[in-house]
């Protein structure tokens, strides 16, 4: 597989994974190792003060020295809150300015508020942030986000955590065809075949969390997702056959003992 390049860094894995919803930090670590992912998302929240001093924190398990940490702005409903969160993330991570921007519009659907997303992206880009942006599958908005300087556009396949798979394949295809930055499908994957389909469509990567963390066996699903992304990527580049209406025999007809029957 060729490498995925984001913010001047090359990645062998085209699977980016979240760190939420796991049973505990041990399971988080094992599952993420099984995905082979090199970039992981984290949320920025108030510290849980009063917890056991000896209790380890997420970044003790998922080391920023080993993984590229992609802080998100999940839970932000305005550009202002998202910008504040990005600045906090940069402070937490020693000045690193790579972020996943998501500005939500509605608690039920967790659909992005695109007006606020565009507003936040423009301000953050001027402040040297490198924005990987969560958006809808609208091809025009995707292009606009690229044009203002987002380093990756990340359209949803279906609502966050829904596991519904790709709901609008032709919109995603249209986004991919018109893009000059990596297109990473973010949200909506339910199982391995969904991830494969995303990659077979020519997307540059997939970002997921719930499909792995909430599977009955997260570590096994993590391994499945790793293979699914690789399979889809290879199949896309191998070039699939053209679909035909009728059968086309795989074995030669020449020399068939029963030709004359």
């Amino acid at each position: 597989m060729s490498k995925l390049v984001l913010d001047n860094k090359s990645y062998d894995s085209r699977l980016i994974v979240g760190t939420g919803k796991y049973k505990d930090l041990d399971e988080t670590k094992l599952a993420i190792e099984a995905t082979g992912a090199e970039m992981v998302t984290v949320a920025i929240r108030r510290m849980n003060i009063g917890q056991d001093k000896n209790k380890l924190n997420l970044l003790d398990f998922i080391s920023p020295e080993k993984y590229t940490i992609l802080p998100n702005t999940a839970g932000c409903y305005t550009a202002e809150d998202a910008i504040r969160t990005c600045n906090l993330a940069a402070e937490i991570l020693g000045g690193k300015k790579l972020v996943k921007l998501e500005v939500l519009g509605d608690k039920k659907t967790l659909y992005p508020n695109l007006t606020e997303t565009l507003k936040a992206a423009e301000i953050l880009i001027k402040d040297d942030f490198k924005i990987m942006v969560y958006t809808t599958d609208d091809p025009l908005i995707a292009k606009e986000l690229e044009n203002i300087g987002c380093i990756s556009v990340m359209p949803l396949a279906a609502p966050i955590g829904s596991g519904l798979g790709i709901q609008n394949k032709y919109n995603i295809l249209s986004i991919v065809e018109n893009a000059n930055v990596p297109i990473i499908v973010d949200a909506g994957v339910g199982t391995a075949s969904d991830a494969t389909i995303v990659m077979e469509m020519g997307c540059d990567g997939v970002l997921m969390n719930t499909a792995i963390a909430c599977a009955d066996n997260p570590v096994l699903m993590a391994s499945a997702m790793k293979k699914a992304v690789e399979a889809g990527y290879e199949a896309f580049h191998a070039g699939r056959i053209i679909k035909k209406k009728y059968a086309s025999a795989s074995s030669p007809t020449r020399g068939n003992l029963f030709d004359n029957k």
Partner: protein, 66 residues
């Protein structure tokens, strides 16, 4: 002196720095950010900034998320 740490009213000694506050709370996590009244306080200021009455201090870190 009263201050608010992560929205909880807390009593702190006068002349406390953020280093003192973090030590009192047994916080050793190096991956954190501190806001004072909604403005980020750079790590280089943790031993310099002296907390003021009614300061709203937020201690923020990274947790699991997607």
């Amino acid at each position: 002196m009263n201050i608010f740490v992560n929205q909880k009213k807390t009593v702190a000694s006068k002349e406390s720095t953020i280093i003192n506050i973090l030590e009192n709370l047994d916080i050793e996590n190096k991956y954190l950010a501190v806001e004072i009244n909604e403005a980020i306080l750079p790590k280089s200021e943790y031993d310099k900034y002296i907390i003021q009455e009614n300061d709203k201090i937020e201690i923020i870190n990274a947790i699991g998320g997607g």
